[in-house]
Symmetry: C2
């Protein structure tokens, strides 16, 4: 396990919210030298604590304002069927997240499309086209209160 101190936690907090700020700005906030910040970041990258850096875009600005969650039950649960389902579901670009979960349903997926018509199209031509899907239950997002990538430490 990687040992992170309080400064690392602060640094991760800052970088999770804005990875474009300069080492100089970070150094000021953390009361460290630029090089110290630089070395800490490189270490976090080497250790795999920081996986990557991403630009986060506004779904509304790119016509993906309609978000839905869909829970899926498979007909059979053999390894073969699971593998096949997972392979197919990951092909779909509308699916931003996919989790294998406990409970009544087997999977929960998060879907980004333009509107309800597009969602219907997605369901009919793409999702239910995947073999071995038993039943599905969709929940449409009325309001996104929070969707953060930042883990508070």
């Amino acid at each position: 396990m990687i040992r992170l101190d309080a400064i690392d936690h602060q640094l991760l907090g800052l970088l999770q919210h804005d990875s474009k700020q300069t080492n100089k700005a970070l150094a000021n906030k953390l009361n460290l030298s630029i090089t110290a910040v630089y070395e800490r970041i490189k270490k976090l990258e080497r250790n795999g604590v920081i996986r990557n850096y991403a630009a986060l875009i506004d779904p509304e600005k790119v016509s993906r304002a309609f978000i839905a969650f869909c829970q899926i039950k498979l007909i059979q649960h053999s390894e073969q069927h699971i593998k096949l389902f997972e392979k197919e579901i990951l092909r779909l670009k509308e699916v931003l997240s996919c989790y294998h979960i406990s409970g009544e349903y087997d999977y929960i997926i998060k879907i980004y499309v333009e509107n309800m018509a597009a969602y219907r199209e997605f369901m009919v031509t793409k999702l239910t086209a995947i073999a071995h899907i038993g039943s599905t239950q969709s929940s449409f997002v009325i309001n996104e209160l929070k969707n953060s990538t930042a883990i508070e430490l």
Copy 2:
């Protein structure tokens, strides 16, 4: 509505996966000059297409490997109760996402904690401490197949 051409789409695709690559690298991939890339990025930032840049970290490396979804039903649905619930739920640092949804339950939240014991602690002392919660249903993540921030255009 903002007009984005094919190059903007490509550019957004690249930046959503790796926002740390240099304009030079981007220019090569897009067959543009460095300045052209620079101007396009600034425009996407000005227009709000790019909301921000973030470091994405590995939950396992920071002891947040236990992920759960929890669906929540409120007792009452008056504006007052909704507002209060939303205010309280957003206070909780374990809650990375919170959506108001259609269907049987009112909200779905995604929770990151260290382990099942921490989840129990979270439920007992934090979540169910919020007033007006009717019932909840938790689903634990067995496997995260995909959790992307990148919208494919």
